[in-house]
Structures are given as structure tokens and as C-alpha cells.
């Protein structure tokens, strides 16, 4: 009763792990194969049960405390005056290295990059700071709503532009609200999406620069971001979800 697709491709499709051509192939197959359509429905229902179930368990405070004590015991006390000169050279070299990597990863100068794309009007550090700040208790949303028709009008009168607001709950990215933030010295709109236990901040601001594709991901302090420009808006999606997930959301917004 089950065809070959049920065993494998269906799961890749469900998990968003098929490439575009295999995904399209499976969708075509789905139109003709009742077994697969039904199996997909069953799998989706199982998945949503698992995700709704709050089976995820957080580390108890006692564990957190014990881990910190272990780390303290395994960390040497700083002894600044005994650091030999060569280590300072090494530190200077690594700072230089990091600086040059950041320079390549996020060019900021007015001259733009080699391919002529103007850099975003804010730095990676500002972006990640804003993201981390938002994760502190009570900072994530100014307007908490899963309804795009509530979030969109909330921005009216607060900004001199109207950010596009859309919920992608059906694709696994639920809109949970919006807020105002400041990035690179100017007010920006932020749309907040939830992907399972993780939050994704999508910073939106107007731009006069031409459209760009979604740029390769940047990484800093364990957070990844994707940047692109589309129809007069500059977008930057930041999160600790996988790059694949982040890219999926970026593509949904880009469409």
C-alpha cells in the first residue's frame, strides 16, 4: 500500500530537506498518489502533536549551578603579569585576523564590495547586539500577536515606512509579533518569528539601493544572519536556528 516515495522522499519533503527539483517532483507525485497524500497528512499530524506537546525539557537550575562550579574548578585564575611577551604577539595577531575576517565578511566602506553591492547601513556588531538585547526578558515584542493584520497596522504612525508583514505559520515560521528597534542610528521595524523553540528577528528598513539576492550567511557569536534587498526594503534575518531554516524563511519573505 505504500509506494517508494512514502519511505523516504516524503520525510525529506516534510522536513524541508529536499532540493527544489526533488521537492517539485514529489509535489507532482502527491497529486496522483492517494497513499502518499494520506501518509503526509498523518506525518504532519504527528509532527504538530510532538511540537505542541512541550516534551522539551529545560535544564534544571541545580544542573546549571553544578556546571558553573565545574567550569570554575577547571578554569585557571588570570595571572596577567606572567603572560610572556610572545603571547601578546599571538593575541595581537588573532585580533588582526578577526578584524580582517570581519572586514571581508561584512564590508562597510563607502566603496562597497567588489561586485558593486552597497553594504548595509549598520554593522554586524550592531545587528547581533540588537538581536541579543531582544532576547532579554520582556524585550522581544512591542506588539505580541500572531495576526498579521494586527501587527502591520501597529507600525502605522510609528515609522515613516510600512514594512511588509506576513505570517508563515503553515511553513513552520509563526509570526509572534513586532517591535521597533534602532539599528545603525535609525528606527527600524522588526518582525519576530518563532521556529520551534527559537526566535528569528527580521529587521526591515527602507533602502534606495537596488534589489539583491539573499547574500551568503554571516556568523557572529553563535548567531547567523542573512541579508538581502527587495522592492525598496532592506532585510536582515538573525537567529540561532540552522542556516537552512533561516534561508527557508528568507525565501518565503522574498517571494
Amino acid at each position: 500500500m505504500s509506494c517508494d516515495f512514502t519511505r523516504t522522499a516524503l520525510h525529506g519533503y516534510l522536513d524541508g530537506e529536499l532540493d527544489a527539483s526533488r521537492s517539485a517532483e514529489f509535489e507532482r507525485h502527491l497529486e496522483d498518489c492517494r497513499d502518499c497524500a494520506k501518509a503526509l497528512e498523518v506525518e504532519e499530524s504527528l509532527r504538530s502533536a510532538l511540537q505542541r506537546s512541550s516534551l522539551c525539557e529545560r535544564a534544571p537550575a541545580s544542573l546549571r549551578k553544578k556546571v558553573r562550579a565545574d567550569l570554575d574548578a577547571a578554569t585557571a585564575a588570570p595571572v596577567a603579569h606572567r603572560i610572556p611577551a610572545w603571547r601578546w604577539v599571538a593575541v595581537a595577531a588573532s585580533i588582526l585576523l578577526v578584524a580582517s575576517i570581519s572586514w571581508y565578511a561584512w564590508p562597510r566602506s563607502g566603496s562597497g564590495t567588489a561586485n558593486g553591492v552597497a553594504p548595509p547601513p549598520f554593522t554586524a556588531a550592531e545587528l547581533i547586539d540588537a538581536h541579543i538585547r531582544s532576547l532579554q526578558p520582556g524585550h522581544l515584542t512591542d506588539v505580541a500577536s500572531t495576526d498579521q493584520h494586527t501587527v502591520k497596522p501597529w507600525f502605522n504612525g510609528k515609522l515613516d515606512f510600512a514594512p511588509p508583514v506576513k505570517d508563515y505559520a503553515d511553513d513552520g515560521f509563526s509570526l509572534i509579533g513586532g517591535r521597533l528597534d534602532v539599528l545603525g542610528g535609525r528606527n527600524v521595524a522588526v518582525l519576530v518569528y518563532a521556529r520551534r523553540k527559537h526566535f528569528i528577528n527580521v529587521f526591515v528598513l527602507p533602502t534606495k539601493e537596488p534589489d539583491t539576492p539573499i547574500h551568503p550567511p554571516g556568523l557572529r557569536q553563535g548567531y547567523q544572519w542573512l541579508h538581502w534587498r527587495h522592492q525598496g526594503m532592506e532585510y536582515c534575518a538573525v537567529s540561532d536556528v540552522s542556516v537552512a531554516d533561516l534561508h527557508e524563511l528568507a525565501q518565503l519573505i522574498y517571494q
Binding site: 523516504t8 522539551c56 535544564a59 556546571v67 567550569l71 578554569t75 585557571a76 557569536q221 553563535g222 540561532d240
Partner: protein, 188 residues
């Protein structure tokens, strides 16, 4: 264990390494505990094992050269859990992973939705799965890991993650919709 390298020199890390560890690895303590909790099926044991895994991660930290810190940590947590299981509950690890895929049971989404709405029942069903099925489900559905991350954490080839998940989901459906094994055998 290709991703884990022996820390060079002493086990003691300096304050800079400590700060980097706190920034990159410590935020994933919840994920570490959650994976241990579902692999060991006991909060108490998993607290001990997660603690041990965090300390191991700290000592191996010099071998971490950037990349996906969560996957790196979860790989260590998983290895620590399996070492613990081998020592304390070796029977649990004796299930064959490559069992034949049985035909799909005819389950309606409605039946499944009702069964799945009961958190206790869902948790119990998950616990009846062999550890190697359980872990791919926990990583995918509870932690939201990509196939690439699951492959890195569980050391199975990326090409087989999809079929491992297919099997695991099928097992979970069966566990959810069929009576427990003991009751079934008593009826015979």
C-alpha cells in the same frame, strides 16, 4: 568521533577560553539536558550525565574550531549518554537499528491527533522506542536540527538520516496507536 579532538596540554582553560565557552556552548545547556533526558529516560540520571558531558565539552573545547557549537556539544552529550548506557543498561542498546520497514499501519490523522494530544501518552510512546530511533526524533522534532546536524551528532551518514527518521516516525505511530507490548502478548 572525528569532530572531537583531545585538548592539547593541561585540562585547565584560561579565562578567555572560559568566556568563549560561555558565549558559544553554555547557551545550549537546555538542548544538552533535553537530549540526555530522552536518551536516558530519567531526569536524575540525565542531570548527572549532562553535567559530565558539559565538563568533557569544556576540556575538549580547544579542539572546537568554530562552526555549529550546538551540534558539537550534542555530539559529546550523545557519546557520554551511550557510554553511560553501555555501562549501566547494556540491554537497551541491543536493538537492531536496521530492522525491516513494515508496511504503514492504517492510522487516520484524527486518531493520531487524539493520541498525540495527551502529553503523557506521547512521552511514553517516545520512550518505548529504541534509543537510536528516539534520538533522531528528539533532535528533529524537539530541537529542530537539520539533517546535516543530525548526521554530525549521531554519526550516521547524512544520506541515511531521512530513512532513519522515516523508521522512527513509523515506530512512534505504532507505539501511539497500538496497545503496549505486554498487554498484547497477554491476549495471545
Amino acid at each position: 568521533m572525528s569532530g572531537i579532538e583531545k585538548g592539547s596540554g593541561s585540562d585547565v582553560l584560561d579565562v578567555h577560553e572560559r568566556a568563549r565557552f560561555e558565549q558559544l556552548v553554555l547557551p545550549h545547556l537546555d538542548a544538552a539536558f533535553n537530549l540526555a533526558r530522552w536518551l536516558l529516560r530519567s531526569r536524575e540520571d540525565s542531570e548527572d550525565v549532562a553535567q559530565e558531558a558539559m565538563l568533557r565539552a569544556y576540556r575538549f573545547f580547544r579542539g572546537f574550531h568554530g562552526g555549529d557549537a550546538r551540534a558539537w556539544l550534542l555530539q559529546i552529550v550523545r557519546n557520554t549518554c551511550y557510554t553511560w548506557l553501555e555501562k549501566n543498561r547494556p540491554v537497551e542498546l541491543m536493538t537492531e537499528f536496521d530492522e525491516e520497514l513494515h508496511p504503514q499501519p492504517s492510522v487516520s490523522p484524527e486518531t493520531l491527533a487524539i493520541a498525540g494530544d495527551n502529553r503523557e501518552r506521547l512521552g511514553r510512546a517516545l520512550e518505548t522506542l529504541p534509543p537510536r530511533f528516539r534520538e533522531v526524533l528528539v533532535l528533529r522534532e524537539l530541537e529542530g536540527c537539520s539533517y546535516k546536524e543530525i548526521a554530525a551528532i549521531t554519526a550516521i551518514p547524512i544520506g541515511t538520516v531521512m530513512s532513519a527518521l522515516a523508521r522512527a516516525r513509523q515506530r512512534l505511530q505504532r507505539a501511539l496507536t497500538q496497545p503496549p507490548v505486554q498487554e498484547a502478548s497477554r491476549e495471545l
